[in-house]
Symmetry: D2
Subunit: 116 residues, 4 copies
């Protein structure tokens, strides 16, 4: 299964099953899950801690490092999906709503090539 044939709901269901099989819902409250996302994001950052931004894309050409980075990214998604599960938030709806809001805040023509 790949991103092309997998719905967000399927990813969420898979996460929920993993958590339920271990009776871990009791630990998966929003406070703990938000902290867990931050912890995994920090582990992802650590891979680029001393690398200049413009050279950080070089990880693409290093299969071992790329595999580690993919694993950290998977952890971010695991907890972010669990967070959505814990509060029944539709990720697709929330993301599309946020992008619409951001599109109004950052019109493509006036923010072309600049972020402020």
């Amino acid at each position: 299964m790949t991103d092309h044939d997998t719905t967000v709901a399927e990813l969420r269901k898979r996460m929920a099953a993993f958590v339920q099989e271990r009776d871990w819902e009791q630990f998966h409250d929003p406070k703990n899950l938000a902290a867990s996302i931050a912890i995994e994001a920090a582990e992802l950052m650590e891979h680029f801690q001393w690398v200049p931004s413009e050279r950080s894309g070089a990880v693409r050409d290093d299969p071992v490092a790329l595999g580690e980075v993919a694993e950290e990214l998977a952890d971010v998604f695991a907890y972010a999906l669990s967070f959505a599960n814990a509060l029944d938030i539709d990720v697709t709806g929330a993301l599309f709503a946020k992008l619409e809001k951001n599109a109004a805040k950052y019109p493509a023509d006036s923010y072309y090539g600049r972020y402020e």
Copy 2:
């Protein structure tokens, strides 16, 4: 569109379009995106900063707070999906591989109801 009828690839494509329309790929290197995920995760945490874990689920019954939390979660997903785009990482593949690894590390029977 909801999580039930949207593939991960469609979410990624939507994010990529948003970034391309603003010529923002130049800022979206892995180092900056990893930091951005951490920044948004921290904003999510802030909603629960002084709330005890076991009461953090109460956000479910407060529509205004839940809306704000959903928006922060959307930001986490936005940057996590952009990170996957920047390095062509298949999120579904990475997540399923990580869950398989974790299933071996934390067998359901010996970790039932405990995390260590």
Copy 3:
């Protein structure tokens, strides 16, 4: 040397010497150091990831865990002091100014026992 007989300037000087002896100032720019503080803060959080807030003080009675936690806290201070060094920020001045600002924002009588 303890917190009672050590000035903040002495801590900073010690950090600066450690960095200079390794010619690491080149990596210690504000962006990298801010990320480094966040990374160490996340490692500190990890010790309490699944522990309810009200039980997190129990680490006090576990000498091994307390030692690990003290080490993570030291890392937070190491990078925060290096950040101050990198930009010549007087920590004492900045902290006292911020506390004065916060004292006006959160008057002790109206915020007694509550944070919002």
Copy 4:
């Protein structure tokens, strides 16, 4: 008062007084404080979110931005000192012990100008 005439113990005492005057010790458990350090570290990072590492030092020449950055750094110190207070950790002792450990791990001659 500046970093030159202020001991770490005096900073800690000042933080403790601020917290006690508001009866906030009840919220200042290690789990909440670790998350608070991470939240403030993320706000510090936000100032450099899209700035390349090597240009992030330019904040030095922008008094307004430097003032904001100093304020975020003060917040990091505020919570890090409160964390030390909550668990009676001697910051100076912990930092010097960690630097000694790191000096053994990263000998100055073999790590001169490199971090790995």
